[in-house]
């Protein structure tokens, strides 16, 4: 079974802090994604990566950056956390075949105070 893990289930940070959310997949998938999930808005794509050190902006990249130094790990970075970034963050991975299923991690509930 594909396993996608995220470093924390719950995280509380202060405004202005730099925040790292980590995601690791164990199936050698080429593609990885970061979404945020908010009530009434569904999931919105922040960034996706199609290879090591290769990424593209999604629909809502403002205030975020990403890093993918190794194939299995995809990090989401909040350079200076703000209260409007309080949300559930979901990581997903997929093979290089774009019609294949995306596999999701358990999510990180981030609260920015």
């Amino acid at each position: 079974d594909v396993k996608v893990t995220q470093s924390s289930r719950y995280l509380v940070k202060r405004t202005g802090e730099k925040v790292f959310l980590e995601c690791v997949q164990d199936m050698d998938h080429e593609n990885m994604f970061w979404y945020r999930q908010d009530p009434g808005l569904g999931l919105r794509l922040i960034y996706f990566s199609y290879d090591v050190k290769m990424q593209e902006k999604g629909d809502i990249p403002e205030g975020y950056s990403v890093s993918r130094e190794k194939k299995e790990r995809f990090s989401l970075i909040l350079e200076s956390a703000s209260t409007n970034q309080t949300s559930m963050y979901l990581c997903a991975s997929r093979t290089g075949t774009i019609t294949d299923t995306q596999y999701f991690g358990p999510g990180t509930r981030l609260t920015v105070l």
């Binding site: 009434g40 569904g42 999931l43 559930m88 997903a92 999701f104 991690g105 358990p106 999510g107």
Partner: protein, 116 residues
């Protein structure tokens, strides 16, 4: 840009009954894929069922089936013989080519409650 709309924020069903969750989408593409994902209270999202737009036959996975109406741009999920474990948030998602190539567009989600 594609949009996906789930007009039912919440639905409920009695155990063993059937429930249908609605989804509509908007696209100018002719070749695309549609998905239903389930997010149980533990939060790990899993794929329930997928439909390729070029296939006229509706997809079925055990108790889950879809009603895909391409002309109407409608993609509903039917859950038969509902079980307590079906309680979750369900997301409809669209995948196509063009500028959105490589990513899914999700609807707002429908929370399904199953009553014993």
């Amino acid at each position: 840009a594609q949009t996906v709309t789930q007009s039912q924020p919440e639905m409920s069903v009695q155990e063993a009954e059937t429930v249908t969750l609605s989804c509509t989408y908007d696209t100018s593409e002719s070749d695309y894929y549609l998905f239903w994902y389930k997010q149980p209270p533990s939060r790990q999202m899993i794929l329930v069922i997928r439909q390729e737009a070029y296939k006229q036959q509706n997809a079925t996975e055990n108790r889950f089936s879809v009603n895909f109406q391409k002309a109407a741009k409608s993609f509903s999920l039917k859950i038969s013989d509902s079980q307590l474990g079906d309680a979750a948030m369900y997301f409809c998602a669209f995948f196509g080519g063009g500028t959105s190539y490589g990513k899914l567009t999700f609807g707002q989600g429908t929370i399904l409650t199953v009553h014993p």
